[in-house]
Symmetry: C2
Subunit: 181 residues, 2 copies
């Protein structure tokens, strides 16, 4: 593996309420210099929750996605607030989006979206032993909760309703985890 | 499923060479009005190539990722240029990053990263029947090509070297496709 490039300079080139675009001047170990743009998130990252309703069933939510301008099926997820412990953030988001909490919460892995230009990470949390409890969230409309057989991933990505790589990768990973591989 | 929210207004709030941040004012079918920020990409999207070296082996590349500031293992990918047909873009990126072309190229599915705030899509292309051919790319250093047994996904995400949801989801999907499920 090559030695990491040296960061010569970082400059903020644009900023909004949520996003922060940085230019990064790099020198690679072979002497090549180049400029990249990357997006910094204002937040500590995202938690994605895989709620297990029973041994064979996970819960998805159907929500409007402003980026693609359509309803998308995916696992519930949300921002981890400053100073909020990860598993507390997971349980809070679960109560806000699905209307239940979980007695057992377990951090499984971290995923990135596009490490080349996004620093953003998503923490995957498995939630088991669910109980009913709703918290008011900031959702503009209540997400529709959709139970899904966890071995029907194939049907999920072929449905045309779930295009999100994070949700598909998390379901595959959770299946391997639960199947004891 | 709810009726899609009405887009009342879109405004550019920040812009850089590569990115374009938009504010989106929405009215949901229940009357709630809200403002979202989303990122528009200046490009037509990304192609991700799954190169099959032989029946059981895929090729990954190890490249520096400016977003996470570390080397990441993942499938080769790159921008689809204006007016460039998808499968041509796939073959070009394969020649630039891996040093080979493919006789058989097949579009398998489209993935999104974070549909809530990114419009960006990634087209997954399976590349088979490889032949040696290198094109000069814009990579600052030559990516390291890493063969990987395609049924060892578990080892891949546990390795700590591949965190990218797109690569993991694409490998799971290609395995289902090739295993005839």
């Amino acid at each position: 593996m090559s030695k990491k490039p040296r960061i010569l300079n970082t400059t903020t080139v644009a900023k909004s309420r949520l996003f922060h675009i940085e230019a990064l001047d790099l020198e690679f170990s072979n002497g090549t210099r180049t400029r990249y743009e990357r997006l910094r998130s204002a937040t500590r990252g995202t938690v994605l929750i895989v709620p297990l309703l029973d041994e064979n069933t996970v819960l998805l939510v159907r929500e409007y996605a402003a980026g693609t301008e359509r309803y998308e099926l995916g696992f519930p997820k949300g921002r981890i607030e400053t100073d909020e412990p990860l598993l507390e953030a997971a349980n809070r988001e679960l109560m806000e989006e699905v209307g239940c909490g979980a007695t057992r919460l377990e951090h499984i892995t971290s995923l990135t979206l596009a490490p080349g230009f996004l620093g953003h990470t998503t923490e995957v949390v498995l939630a088991q032993d669910l109980y009913l409890k709703r918290l008011e969230g900031d959702e503009p409309e209540e997400p529709e909760v959709v139970p899904w057989a966890r071995d029907e991933i194939d049907r999920l990505w072929r449905s045309g309703e779930c295009s999100e790589a994070r949700t598909l990768a998390a379901l595959f990973i959770i299946n391997e985890h639960l199947n004891g591989r």
